[in-house]
Symmetry: C2
Subunit: 209 residues, 2 copies
DNA sequence: CTTAAAACATGAGTAATCCTCATATTTGCA
DNA sequence: TGCAAATATGAGGATTACTCATGTTTTAAG
């Protein structure tokens, strides 16, 4: 980033839109940003272009987003909210090892499909490591998702060490995200193999020794 | 990045220094960049600052590096060369499962130690996902390192499917790098637990079902 | 040694981009 | 109706990656 002194603060709306009009405009801004990221990636996304495509002035953009990263962050947060709901729902009913294997495999497929199909999600989670706020959002998201796993594991293996379960679930989840990122950056066929290998590896770990 | 039209080309020296004098100057430039990255991270590193600290003009900097990322890339490449030598040496003599477990554990410890101790390495491999050239360097490095593992595995399990071994080794290696990145971004104690968990998980996978 | 070409060095200037802010307009409400 | 708060605007400030015309040093052939 240039033009900014590498600000380390967390990104958050400068001012929440309180009127109907401005709420609609903020939506348009996010939609424009999303389209531009899909086309060129968030790095190449220009604030002027976002404003123009949303049909607002550059000043209006900064009325609701303190800086460029805040826009990306806002989009990323929506994905986390949506996916957490999906994950929670998928894992909620699991009560035995067979069910866990089924649900986990399903989740991995869904995630992999999203990474393959959604250029915005792809772009955002790829750039995750470079941006502090995004990294923290992903970490928090990952922990939250791991919690759902942990809840299931504690039901299935009530005698296991809780700390070990925590560590395992968190690691498995993060490995999954890393595996996805890797899979989409190689040839499709190899990517499929890698995801399948991850699935086996993770399940073996989750289902106990 | 601003001021540049999001160039997607690979970074490479604009001109290789051929004289003694310029070779020394290039070394000073890299040393200056390394120090600045250690202090503030590669994102906050300013080209003018690199030049100043190296005691050269901004023009000289661009005489040998086509752009900012090329400097980071050059530093990253040195790490890969060094680490490949280390990995190759550690894995070369392995001839049984016990030896593999020993060598692998040792390598993980070395890597983790480097990530903890070397802010430059930490910074560079963290930002890896955002920069295309860096991502490709890391992928190539990871594949090369996985090759060493594959060679060992083929010796230990000559009957196994070669493609499956390739996939496993590559995945395990990438998971390792992801685990390190994760480990250094959480509290030290939890990081240690995560690395240990990864070690167990990876070894179980490498040593066969 | 001479000399021409190649390599190297310089830094003021260019261009691109993020973001601010003074000013104008619209909306909600007493 | 009128006023305060919210919203809208876009020219311009500020920063920074990178260029290029010009000058200097090194190399090596004659």
């Amino acid at each position: 980033m240039e033009g900014t002194p590498a600000n380390e603060q967390i990104a958050s709306p400068r001012r929440a839109p309180s009127q109907q009009r401005s709420r609609e405009r903020v939506e348009r801004m996010l939609a424009a940003a999303s389209a531009l990221i899909a086309e060129q990636g968030s790095d190449a996304m220009r604030m002027g272009e976002v404003a123009e495509r949303a049909g607002v002035s550059i000043g209006s953009l900064y009325q609701f987003f303190p800086d460029k990263r805040a826009i990306v962050w806002a989009l990323a947060e929506r994905y986390t909210v949506e996916s957490q709901a999906c994950i929670s729902a998928t894992l909620a009913g699991v009560s035995d090892a067979e069910g866990l294997a089924q649900a986990f495999s399903e989740l991995v497929d869904i995630y992999y499909g999203l990474f393959l199909a959604e250029p915005v999600m792809r772009d955002i989670w790829s750039g995750t490591q470079a941006d502090k706020a995004l990294r923290e959002l992903e970490l928090a998201d990952s922990r939250a998702n791991a919690e759902f796993l942990i809840a299931v594991l504690k039901r299935l293996r009530p005698d296991a060490d809780p700390v070990a379960l925590d560590t395992t679930a968190f690691l498995v989840w993060q490995m999954g995200e890393a595996a996805m990122r890797l899979a989409i950056s190689v040839e499709r066929q190899e990517g499929d193999r890698l995801v399948a290998a991850y699935k086996r590896m993770a399940l073996r770990e989750l289902l106990g020794k």
